[in-house]
Amino acid sequence: MLEITDLVHSYGSHRVLDGVSIRAAEGELVCVVGPSGCGKSTLLRSVAGLIRPTGGRVLIGGQPVDRIPDNLAVVFQDYSRSLYPWMTAANNVALPLRRRGLDRRRRREAATAALDQVGLADAADKYPWEMSGGMQQRVSIARALAYRPSLLLMDEPFGSVDAQTREDLEDLVLRVCAHHGMTTLLITHDIDESVYVGDRVVVLTRSPARVAADLPVGLGDSRDQIATRQLDAFVRLRAEVGRLVRGGSSTSTVLEKH
């Protein structure tokens, strides 16, 4: 479904991505972790077709990305700037659904349902600037999920919410993605999270980013916040990813690309 091959990107003379290759099969959820400023958001923007990378290739469903791909949804890291301040939360969520050919009532219903799922049933008629940071972030998650894209890109989508909400949202994303077979690329700083939600975890090196490791998670499809996190495999993988992010080298089966 998604094939990133040898992606290179430089801002001016400053090389940020230095040959990154990542593959995601249909319906797979790939987590990307890496140090701050290493180039994760740049990677995501290249996949979304928002920037034209300096080198390498991105294929989605076999098609090269030369404009914004169809059926794509993105949750931006800077979520507050991606909501429209002149619209209520419900309208922000409902707006993209016009493309889905839904009539006004159905759009409204879908939006309300999505907001409900992220715990914002009460806030449907609030404007973004009347909401807390975490609420805004959840609105943009609800917008992406309600859209039912075939490719979902999320840049630290749970950074501004409390632990409980975060877990709920993780489970929500797992459920929705599995149910609709969305292919998902999720950038996160939380190593636990990457292992918990990912089918695979890709670790990037410090800038310029290369793939330090590409680890299959292999925890099965049904995950549970308490049971899964207590599995031995989970704990081991978490430690492994942690070490890799800290710059150590991999000890387990790693599909090193470079």
Partner: protein, 262 residues
């Protein structure tokens, strides 16, 4: 409470009037009649009519009726054209490349010089006057709209592109609302300019209306009449602007609230 607020808002008016009255009485310059004389003359000219016509005299109807109609038509036309063209140019760097120099060429040519040619071109006086007004006031609307359109927050645009908004959606849901505060600044500027251009158009097309009255007053050295016209212009400007601000408060409510500091 409302009275207090109104007083708070309008206190400068009587103060200015009194200062002006005292100053003009002291100066005894025929060109600067005291405001009391001007107001008296205005009443005589425009407000001594039958009660059935709200006291408006026949002359008032002649002076204001067609003028106001031209003013609104001109402003509305300029708003539609300016906003539409501004959005098109703001969205398309290519189009702006072609048109930019022409725009700046056009807006630096004095409209009074062009009126005779509009007249020659359009033969009829009303379309020529409307053209004059539109040509004179469209620039702030156009430039502010271009600026507003070009400077929509990048992430707003990216979000629209990601979700594959149609062009119409992108315009009506993202670009126009985002540019609206700036467009309104342009529309507000254009509203007062429209009054100015109306006067110029009426003077040059030479037939009836407030501008024509102003011209005759100047030509016959009837300075109180002339000041009366200026006062009416000012009052009209104030009223139009107040109405405009009311509309703006409704349309831009989100903006005011989103941008308020505590």
């Amino acid at each position: 409470m409302n009275v207090i607020r109104a007083v708070g808002r309008l206190w400068l008016v009587p103060v200015t009037l009194v200062v002006w009255e005292v100053a003009t009485r002291a100066a005894e310059q025929p060109f600067f009649p005291p405001p009391s004389a001007t107001l008296a003359r205005m009443g005589e000219m425009w407000l001594s009519g039958p009660p059935a016509h709200l006291l408006l005299t026949e002359q008032a109807m002649d002076d204001f009726g067609p003028s106001l109609a031209r003013l609104f038509a001109g402003w509305a036309l300029a708003a539609v054209l300016g906003v539409a063209a501004g959005i098109a140019i703001g969205c398309s760097p290519r189009l702006s490349g072609y048109l930019d120099p022409l725009i700046h060429l056009g807006r630096a040519v004095p409209p009074p010089l062009l009126v005779p040619f509009f007249l020659a071109l359009l033969k009829l006086s009303t379309p020529a006057q409307l053209t004059t007004i539109v040509f004179g006031i469209i620039w702030p609307i156009l430039l502010n709209t271009i600026d507003g359109t070009r400077t929509v927050d990048r992430q707003h645009l990216e979000t629209a592109r990601i979700f594959g908004f149609s062009t119409a959606q992108r315009l009506t849901r993202v670009i126009v609302p985002a540019a609206m505060p700036k467009i309104f600044a342009g529309l507000r500027l254009a509203l007062s300019l429209a009054l100015i251009l109306l006067i110029i158009a009426e003077i040059l097309a030479g037939s009836g209306g407030l501008g024509y009255r102003l011209l005759t007053a100047q030509r016959t050295y009837l300075y109180t009449d002339m000041w009366g016209c200026l006062v009416v212009l000012g009052l009209l400007g104030y009223l139009l602007n107040s109405a405009f601000l009311l509309m703006e408060r409704r349309v831009l409510a989100w903006h005011r609230n989103a941008r308020q500091t505590t």
